[in-house]
Symmetry: C2
Subunit: 141 residues, 2 copies
Amino acid sequence: MLDIAEVARQSGIPASTLRYYEEQGLIRSAGRRGLRRIFEPDVLTRLSLISLGQIAGFSLAEIAEILRDHEAPAIARERLLDKADALDLRIRELTALRDGLRHTARCTAPSHLECPSFRRLMRVALAHAARRRRAAARAAD
Amino acid sequence: MLDIAEVARQSGIPASTLRYYEEQGLIRSAGRRGLRRIFEPDVLTRLSLISLGQIAGFSLAEIAEILRDHEAPAIARERLLDKADALDLRIRELTALRDGLRHTARCTAPSHLECPSFRRLMRVALAHAARRRRAAARAAD
DNA sequence: ATGCCACTTCAAGTCAACTTGAGGTCAAGC
DNA sequence: GCTTGACCTCAAGTTGACTTGAAGTGGCAT
C-alpha cells in the first residue's frame, strides 16, 4: 500500500493532481489511514493508462469512460481502433507539416508563398482547422 | 479589400476570432471604412500560417513571434528546424501509440497488462507526460 | 432620409485541467 | 504529551483560446 506522496514520487504526478483525478473518478484510493488516502500499487498502472490516453488526445472525461468500459468484461475495441485511425490522420498531417517546415527553412526562394508545396501545406492547415472547429461545435451540443 | 464577414467566409474563421487575433497582434486590418475593418486579401495567407502553426503545436504567442521574425529580412530558419525536430519526436510517439492501440484492440490476451509491448507503451506514456510537465513548469517562469 | 442590421467595443463568461491558499486534522518522532 | 509537518477539504484562482452579451454606430438599400 502506498501513500499519496509515494504514488506522486513513483508516477511523477503531483499529489494535487492525484486528488483531482480521484474526484473525477479516474482513480480510486483503497481506503484511508486516518484522513490519509492509501493506494494499491496497481494505481500506477492506471495512471500510466491515463497518461497514454492524454497523449492520444482523449479528454479526461473520455478516458474515464474508457476505463469504466475497460473494467467491464469486454474492452471497447472499436473505440480504440477509431482512435488509432484518428491518430493515423494526425500523423500524416504532422509529417506533411514537418516536411513543410524543413522545406521552408531550406528553400531560398524570395517568398515561400510562391512555392507550390508550401501553398498546398497551407490549404491542408485551413482544412484541418475547420474540421477541428466543426468537431468542437458538435461536442458542444 | 475584404470586410470581416468576407474574410470569415473565405477562411472559415469566425469574425469574433478574427477580432481576437487582431487584438493579439496576429493579423492586422488595412484600415477602416467608418467603424468597420477592411482587410487586404493576403490576410488569408496569414490566417493559413496561423492554422499551420496551431497544428504544429505552437501557442498563439509563439506564432505571433514567428510571424514577427518572418517579416524581418531574415527568416528564423533555425527555429523552424527546431520545431521540425520536435515534430519528428512527436510523430514517433504517436506512431508507437497508434500501433499500441491497434495491438490492444487485436490482442486477445486475458489482460493487456501482461503484454510486454503494451507495458513498454505505458512507460513511454509516463515519460512523455513527465516531460510535458517539466516543459510547462519551465514556461511558467 | 431613414431604417435595418452588420458591424463595432468592452467586459464578462466558458471550458479543461489543474494549482493554490486558507484553515483544519492527525500519525509519528522526540 | 507535544510539536511538527505531511496530509486533508473546499473554494477560488489560473491559463489559453476563444465566445457571448449588451449597448452603441453607421453604411447602404429603398
